[in-house]
């Protein structure tokens, strides 16, 4: 019992918080690209953020409920229609058995999430339901699949304000293990450069476009392959930066100029192809303050959930309403 997938885009997969504790075996954590969206979905459905959801890139699909259930929609907003009526993003909605939900295409951002009450209840593999396609765990969702759901809870018609992480902008980074290999003038130029997210981006890495000279470590010395972490900005031999994403390998042989702070990581992954990104170094101390505040906000995330009171059919500014309302602190 759950959601039947009738038709869907090419890049839908079940994700959760991923697999921690396997670095020594060479397995990166993977999981949802935008974990903030998982927390928002969990708050809307009043359930654990460890529940699995459907991650959708670019577009969603057509889904039919085989039982009564609740859904929530978070992350990159997509045009969404329930039984012929548009419904709002960043909100939870009830579906009855036989209802049809059509999601897509993306209106802003990159990764959208469809949550179900009880979470998508497939069998875990290595303590997680997350698809990690590069290492052969799980599979893309395809037409005919049934997404099984957990127990129904009555949590429909709620909404949550979100932040502005879907349009690019400034991203804060901290110095990391190899930052000092890059001379100050190169780091300064990196901060002054306007980058655009290249269309060549996936769950392993996001390529950054720029004009002018590259950022290659001038020493030209090869480095020993070393531990990397999602958010690391790796500079390849030709000077091109790549932000490593949640399915990067555990080690990498290119030097890294810095690491995106956890609070801004979702902004990097959600920035659509072609949109602008700038990077600014902050100190470790400042980053710790920002992250401490962000975690405190996350602890209170359920207090931001409010009833979806306006009748969606009367809302002309339907999508913009939820996208711009109540940008949060620490986002």
């Amino acid at each position: 019992m759950g959601l039947v997938v009738h038709q869907c885009g090419p890049a839908l997969a079940i994700q959760d918080m991923g697999r921690f504790g396997y670095l020594a075996t060479g397995m990166m954590r993977g999981g949802a690209a935008d974990t903030k969206a998982l927390h928002e979905g969990a708050a809307l459905l009043d359930q654990s953020p460890d529940c699995a959801a459907l991650e959708m890139v670019g577009t969603g699909g057509t889904f039919e409920a085989t039982t009564d259930l609740c859904i929530a929609l978070t992350g990159a907003a997509m045009r969404t229609i329930l039984n012929g009526t548009p419904i709002v993003w960043n909100a939870s909605h009830a579906m009855q058995a036989g209802d049809t939900l059509t999601i897509g295409p993306t209106l802003s951002g990159t990764y959208g999430y469809l949550h179900v009450s009880g979470g998508i209840d497939i069998d875990p593999v290595i303590a997680s339901r997350a698809a990690h396609l590069t290492i052969g765990l799980g599979a893309l969702v395809k037409p005919g699949d049934i997404l099984p759901i957990g127990p129904l809870t009555d949590v429909a018609n709620r909404c949550i304000p979100t932040d502005k992480r879907f349009e690019g902008g400034e991203v804060r980074i901290v110095p990391s293990a190899q930052t000092n290999r890059f001379p100050e003038h190169l780091r300064n130029r990196f901060e002054q450069t306007l980058f655009r997210r290249d269309p060549r981006a996936n769950r392993q890495a996001i390529r950054l476009d720029f004009e002018g000279d590259g950022f290659a470590d001038p020493s030209g010395l090869s480095i020993v392959s070393e531990i990397v972490t999602p958010g690391d900005i790796q500079i390849t031999g030709d000077g091109t930066p790549y932000v490593l994403s949640i399915e990067c390998q555990t080690t990498g042989g290119y030097p890294r100029i810095g690491t995106v702070i956890p609070s801004d990581f979702a902004k990097v992954v959600q920035t659509p192809a072609g949109r602008e990104l700038r990077f600014r170094f902050i100190s470790i101390a400042e980053a710790r303050d920002i992250e401490t505040r962000a975690r405190a906000d996350l602890q209170k995330i359920k207090t931001r959930v409010t009833p979806l009171v306006r009748d969606p059919r009367e809302m002309k500014d339907l999508l913009s309403y939820n996208l711009i309302s109540g940008a949060i602190a620490g986002g």
Binding site: T25, V125, I126, T229, I284
Partner: protein, 247 residues
């Protein structure tokens, strides 16, 4: 590969995800041993701040929440443990295993054995014998889950990677830069394809998804392709006929 550099070991942060202790600036057998020994030492201390640890070719990594725990304090604590001895000559940790893994070197599944042997200055049958004669240490696991980078072969095996990539199957043995790898999955590689095993590096549907651990020793034993095919068909464990004992 010997070196001495007073600026090592270094301790640095990896974003806000943990601290990295690096024992040498370039590939070094002693630095790998130090990384294995130091990681094992820190593990025995069971610090509550450490969420997990790993060792790579020349470093040990300790994942910890550097938002909650002050990086400078944690660096000082790591530095204090580094100072208790010279880690470059520390004994390897206990509980390691020596694996004997069947491998075949028949040309149909070892297309670059001849070429690799020539680069190493050896006749192919000598190269094949050498690959089986040495017990190699799993230096680290990476590239794919459970995939061992093992070394070090003697100096004449310091052969470069090739710029032209070749496609190898799962279980393939490849060699370069004094190291031997068993491939986890079918993949393109710049390393030379010199043999084939039936060893599965990553077995996600089992209780032990990754059988090898950094620090384990791997020794190949030469079998015919027919024998390897028989093993593949009859060993459901994923070990591909491999056996291990504690060392």
């Amino acid at each position: 590969m010997a070196h001495s550099d007073n600026s090592y070991p270094t301790i640095s942060n990896v974003g806000l995800d943990g601290l990295l202790v690096t024992f040498a600036p370039s590939l070094s057998d002693t630095a790998n041993r130090a990384a294995l020994a130091f990681r094992a030492h820190i593990e025995t201390l069971s610090w509550s701040e450490i969420q997990e640890s790993a060792s790579t070719l020349v470093s040990a990594f300790f994942r910890m929440d550097l938002v909650q725990h002050d990086p400078e304090t944690m660096k000082e604590r790591i530095a204090a443990e580094l100072s208790i001895r010279e880690w470059l000559d520390a004994p390897l940790p206990e509980g390691r295993r020596r694996w004997t893994i069947p491998a075949t070197f028949e040309t149909s599944v070892a297309p670059q054995l001849e070429e690799a042997a020539e680069l190493a200055g050896l006749e192919p049958h000598i190269a094949q014998k050498e690959l089986c004669d040495y017990s190699l240490r799993v230096l680290t696991l990476g590239f794919a889950p459970g995939m061992p980078y093992s070394g070090y072969l003697p100096k004449h095996w310091d052969i470069p990677r090739q710029s032209q990539l070749v496609n190898v199957p799962a279980g393939a043995l490849v060699v370069a830069v004094r190291q031997l790898i068993i491939f986890a999955n079918p993949s393109p590689t710049g390393w030379r394809h010199v043999g084939q095993t039936a060893f599965q590096c990553f077995r996600p549907d089992t209780d032990t998804p990754v059988a090898l651990r950094p620090g384990d020793e791997v020794r190949l034993t030469d079998v015919s392709k027919t024998e390897l095919d028989r093993i593949s068909a009859t060993d459901p464990s994923g070990n591909g006929g491999a056996e291990w004992k504690l060392i």
